[in-house]
C-alpha cells in the first residue's frame, strides 16, 4: 500500500504526537478557487467537512493513479457507494470504474456519525464533491507547474493531465501527503452542464455480486477459524431466568461453550447448524418467570394518552380568527411497526488480548465502538468497528444489538472470530420498533375555503434509542451487572423525532404545533425510516384532503392555494400532470388520492398521486398505480433516486395496509412473518412512475425517506375518494376497511 493510503487514524495519531511525519502543503502561488482569499480566514465548510476538513480524509490517489474515496457513511442498500463514486469521479474527471470506495470503518474513514435521516448525500456527498474538486484543482496546478505552462492550458481527463506536448498521470502529480490539506470551501465545482457521470443513471457497483452469490454481506463473512453462535432471548421484556441446564447444552455435538451472564444466554458451536440446534434445545429447556408489563390489547392508544409526557410547542404563529365559519378536527393513529429486515441481524466479533474487532451492519460504527468499549470495559481506541453490509436497514434495527451479543460471546471465546446471527423470532420480538403515535389535528376554514388556523398535537414514544452506551445494547441490559439505558430525549427541531414534519409547509396564517414526548416505553422503540414524518405527513395530508372536501375544492388546487414554496408547487403540479389528474375518469370501486411533503421541511420534495381499488366484499385495498414527482436538488444518480422512491412507496404501502406489531399483556405475539404479514407480490402496486426535477447547481437533498408519508396519505385519500370512508387508523387491513364500509 502506498504512502497515499496511510490509514487515517494512524496518520492522525502521528500528527497528534507531533511526530516524524512531515506534512507538505501544496504550492499555492495561485490559490485554488474563487473564494480563496476568504479561505485564509477559514470559512465554514459544508457537509461533513466540518468534522473532517482534509482532502485526504476523503480522497486519496495512489502512485498508479487509482482513486479511493473514503466515507463515514454506510451502504444500506440505498446505493450510496455508487452515488459517492459518481460524485468523486465527476469532480476528478476519472472513469468511475477506476474509483474504489471505503465505507464506515473506525480505523480508516471520517466519523460521520450515523448513516441516517437521508443525510448521506447532503453530508458525505457534499464533502466528497468539494474535496474531489479541490484535488482536481491541485492536480491542475501541479501539472501546470511541472509542464511550465499556464493552468488554463492543462486538460484533465480520465486520470491524466496533459497539454499538446506534455502528459502526466494523476499518480505522478500527487504523492504521499500532498492531499493532506484543508479543503477550500471555494474550490470550483465542474460546470454541471459538462457532467459526464453525475446526473447519469450509473449502474450500482454492488448489484453484480448480489445476483451471483458473491460475498456481499456480513452474513457471508468466513474468517479464518470462525465459530458460530446464537443467543437465547427471554420470552418477554421483563422475564427473569428461573432454571437453565447449561451442562446439558454444553454436551451437545459441536458445542464449544455455553455463556450465561444474568439474563444474557448464548451458545458457541463449531458449525452454524450445531449452534441453531443448541439454541432450539435451550429455548425448550430454559424456565422463565414472566410479568405482565404491556398494555392490554385495545388499550394501546389510551395508554399513550395517559402516559406522562414532556410537552413542547415547536411552532406558533398568528392568532386564531374569531369570525371563521368551519372548524374541523381529526385524530390519526399508528401502531408499533417493525423494521423487519429479511435477513436477521448478524455480526462477527473477535477479541484478542485487550482489543476487539467487530464487523457489523450498524448505521454508526463510531457510536457502536463507544458502546462496545463500555460493554467490554475497554478503551474505545482498542475497539475497531467495520461496516459490512447487511440485509436492508430502514433505521435502528437489531444491528447494534447483535454486535453487542457478538462482542460478549467473542470475549468468552477469545482469539477466534465469533459469528452471531439472530433467529427470525429474535428480530421480530426484540428489535426496537417504530413507535406508536397519535396526531390530533384541528383547522378552521374561512368562508372562501381557505385555512385560517391550524393546530397539530402529536404524541409519540422516542424515535431514537441508538447507542449511546452499553445500556443501549440489548446485551448490556441483560447481563447480571446491567448497564442503564441512556434516558431518551426528544430529537431537536428542525429535524425532530416524533415531531418530524409535524410543522406543515403550507402558509397558514395562524398555527400551533405541539410535540408530546412520551419517554416511558412499554416496548423499546427507536428510529424507523422517516421517524415521525411517516405519521405526521399521513395526518397532515389526510386532513388537508378532508378540509378540501369540506371546502368543496379539488385537493390539488387546495394544496396549491396554501403553498408558497415554488419547488413544492412544481412537484405537486408535475405529479398531477403525469398522473392525468384533470382527465381522470371514475370507475366503480376506484378512487384517486394525492399527497405531498418536503421531508423534514429541508430535504427532498415528493408529491404522489395514486389510484386505488377497494373491494367492497373483502375490504382489500390495492394500489392500482402511483405517480410520484420529486425534487432532490442536483441529481447524482437518477436511477438511484427512482429506486428509493419506488421502494419508499412500496414499503409505505405495506406499512399502511398491513403492518402492526401485536402483543398480549406479557409478550410480543407477532414473532414471524405469519404473525407480522407484509406486502407480497400480488399486493404490490400495479405500476409506479417516478418523475424527477433535476436542479443543477442546487445542494443535494436526501431522498431515501421522502416518499413514506405522502404514500400513506395518498392511499387514505384515494380510499376516501373510492368508497367515501375516511381511514385514520393505520393499518388499513381488509378487516378494518370492511368494518368501516359496513358501519
Amino acid at each position: 500500500m502506498s504512502a497515499a493510503r496511510v490509514d487515517g487514524a494512524a496518520r492522525r495519531r502521528l500528527l497528534a504526537a507531533g511526530g516524524a511525519l512531515v506534512v507538505s502543503f501544496p504550492l499555492r502561488a495561485a490559490p485554488v478557487g474563487r473564494a480563496s482569499a476568504a479561505s485564509r480566514s477559514a470559512p465554514a465548510l459544508p457537509g461533513s467537512l466540518k468534522t473532517e476538513p482534509f482532502v485526504d480524509g476523503w480522497i486519496r490517489i495512489d502512485a498508479q493513479g487509482e482513486v479511493t474515496v473514503f466515507t463515514g457513511k454506510a451502504e444500506l442498500g440505498q446505493g450510496i457507494k455508487t452515488a459517492l463514486i459518481q460524485v468523486a469521479a465527476e469532480q476528478l474527471v476519472v472513469d468511475p470504474r477506476r474509483v474504489a470506495i471505503v465505507t464506515a470503518d473506525t480505523e480508516r474513514t471520517p466519523n460521520e456519525g450515523y448513516t441516517a435521516g437521508s443525510h448521506s448525500m447532503q453530508d458525505s456527498g457534499t464533502a466528497i464533491r468539494l474535496a474531489a474538486a479541490h484535488a482536481r484543482a491541485m492536480l491542475a496546478e501541479r501539472a501546470a507547474l511541472r509542464f511550465g505552462v499556464g493552468i488554463d492550458q492543462v486538460v484533465l481527463r480520465d486520470g491524466v493531465a496533459s497539454t499538446a506536448e506534455h502528459r502526466a498521470g494523476y499518480g505522478e502529480l500527487v504523492t504521499g501527503e500532498v492531499l493532506h490539506v484543508r479543503v477550500d470551501a471555494g474550490a470550483p465545482l465542474r460546470d454541471p452542464r459538462l457532467h459526464f457521470v453525475s446526473g447519469k443513471p450509473w449502474s450500482r457497483v454492488d448489484i453484480p455480486a448480489k445476483v451471483s452469490g458473491g460475498p456481499a454481506y456480513v452474513q457471508d463473512l468466513r474468517l479464518e477459524g470462525m465459530v458460530h453462535a446464537r443467543v437465547l432471548r427471554p420470552p418477554s421484556p421483563n422475564a427473569t431466568l428461573r432454571a437453565f441446564d447449561a451442562p446439558a447444552i454444553a454436551a451437545m455435538p459441536g458445542v464449544l461453550k455455553v455463556v450465561q451472564d444474568g439474563r444474557f444466554i448464548g451458545v458457541i458451536a463449531q458449525r452454524e447448524w450445531q449452534a441453531v440446534s443448541a439454541w432450539r434445545r435451550m429455548a425448550q429447556a430454559a424456565r422463565w418467570d414472566e410479568t405482565s408489563s404491556l398494555p392490554l390489547p385495545g388499550t394501546l392508544f389510551r395508554s399513550l394518552r395517559e402516559a406522562p409526557s414532556e410537552d413542547s410547542v415547536i411552532a406558533e404563529r398568528g392568532t386564531p380568527p374569531s369570525d371563521a365559519t368551519t372548524s374541523m378536527s381529526a385524530a390519526y393513529r399508528r401502531p408499533y411497526q417493525a423494521h423487519a429486515s429479511i435477513g436477521p441481524s448478524c455480526a462477527v466479533a473477535r477479541v484478542a488480548g485487550n482489543t476487539c474487532t467487530v464487523w457489523s451492519h450498524t448505521q454508526g460504527v463510531f457510536p457502536l465502538r463507544k458502546a462496545i468499549a463500555e460493554l467490554l470495559g475497554l478503551p474505545p481506541d482498542q475497539v475497531r468497528c467495520i461496516h459490512v453490509e447487511g440485509s436492508g436497514c430502514y433505521g435502528h434495527n437489531g444491528a447494534d444489538d447483535v454486535a453487542g451479543d457478538a462482542a460478549l460471546l467473542a470475549r468468552a471465546w477469545p482469539g477466534r472470530p465469533v459469528r452471531v446471527q439472530w433467529m427470525r423470532e429474535d428480530e421480530h420480538a426484540w428489535e426496537p420498533y417504530g413507535p406508536p403515535m397519535v396526531a390530533e389535528l384541528r383547522a378552521t376554514l374561512d368562508a372562501s375555503g381557505t385555512i385560517v388556523d391550524w393546530a397539530h398535537d402529536v404524541r409519540s414514544n422516542p424515535h431514537s434509542t441508538r447507542p449511546g452506551g452499553a445500556g443501549d445494547l440489548l446485551a448490556g441490559t441483560l447481563v447480571a451487572d446491567a448497564f442503564i439505558p441512556t434516558p431518551p430525549k426528544p430529537l431537536p427541531q428542525p429535524e425532530g423525532g416524533g415531531d418530524r414534519n409535524a410543522i406543515p409547509l403550507y402558509a397558514f396564517p395562524s398555527l400551533r404545533v405541539t410535540h408530546r414526548f412520551l419517554p416511558r416505553m412499554p416496548l423499546r422503540t427507536s428510529a424507523l425510516r422517516s421517524l415521525g414524518a411517516y405519521h405526521n405527513v399521513f395526518a397532515i395530508e389526510s386532513f388537508m384532503d378532508e378540509l378540501a372536501r369540506a371546502a368543496n375544492v379539488d385537493p390539488i388546487d387546495f394544496r396549491l392555494r396554501h403553498m408558497r414554496d415554488v419547488r413544492a408547487q412544481d412537484v405537486i403540479r408535475l405529479a398531477a400532470e403525469r398522473f392525468g389528474w384533470a382527465a381522470w375518469r371514475r370507475r366503480a370501486g376506484r378512487g384517486r388520492g394525492f399527497a405531498f411533503a418536503r421531508y423534514k421541511n429541508l430535504a427532498a420534495y415528493a408529491a404522489i398521486a395514486m389510484e386505488v381499488e377497494v373491494r367492497r366484499d373483502s375490504g382489500a385495498v390495492r394500489v392500482v398505480r402511483a405517480v410520484a414527482a420529486t425534487d432532490s436538488g442536483e441529481v447524482v444518480n437518477p436511477d438511484g433516486i427512482r429506486n428509493q422512491i419506488e421502494g419508499g412507496i412500496v414499503q409505505a404501502t405495506s406499512w399502511t395496509l398491513f403492518e402492526a406489531v401485536t402483543f398480549d399483556a406479557t409478550r410480543v405475539t407477532s414473532r414471524d412473518w405469519g404473525g407480522y404479514p407484509i406486502l407480497r407480490f400480488p399486493q404490490a402496486p400495479g405500476s409506479i412512475d417516478v418523475h424527477l426535477i433535476d436542479r443543477l447547481g442546487e445542494p443535494f437533498l436526501g431522498t431515501g425517506e421522502a416518499a413514506q408519508g405522502p404514500a400513506a396519505a395518498a392511499i387514505a385519500n384515494a380510499v376516501a375518494d373510492a368508497v367515501g370512508v375516511r381511514l385514520r387508523d393505520i393499518p388499513f387491513t381488509a378487516e378494518r376497511v370492511r368494518e368501516a364500509l359496513v358501519s
Binding site: S203, A209, V211, S212, G213, E272, I342, C393, R424
Partner: protein, 162 residues
Amino acid sequence: MTALSLDVNGRMQSVDVDPATPLLYVLRDDLRLNGAKFGCGLGQCGACTVMVDRGAVLSCITPVSLVVGRRIRTVEGLGRAERPGPVQQAFIDEQAAQCGYCIAGMVMRAQALLERTPNPTDDEIRREMAVNLCRCGTHMRILRAVRRAASLLAASVRSGAP
C-alpha cells in the same frame, strides 16, 4: 455425521453432515456458497430459495438427506458477476435490488418459473413470486426483471446458447 454425495451446480460434492441438517446450512457452511440466505428458518420468506431438479425449494426447511441424488442449483450455478446468466443479467439490467438480500432467492424462483412457463403473464409472475418476500420494496423492478429474463431466456434458447 454421515457422508453424503450431492450434485450441486453440476458438480458432485462430498459432505460429512448430520442428515437432518437443512440444505441451506450445507450449502453455506460446507460448500461455502453465499447465494442462499437465512431469512426465517421457517419457510415463510423465500430468501433461501434454490432449485432442486426443476422446482424452487426452500432450503432452510429441506433436510439435506432428501436431496441426495437430485440436481441442486443455486444462484452461483447460473453465472458469475463477470459473466451473468440471462436471469441474473435481467436483474442487473433492471437494477432490481436495493439491499439485495432477497435477490438470490428471487433469481432462483424466477429461473424455476421460466423453465416451467417460458412466457408467463403478469399475474402468473406475481403468484409465483408471492412466496418470496422483499422488504426494500423493489417489487416493481423485480417484476420487470422477470419479464425481461423471459425474453433473454427465449433469445438464448433461439441462439442455442447454454
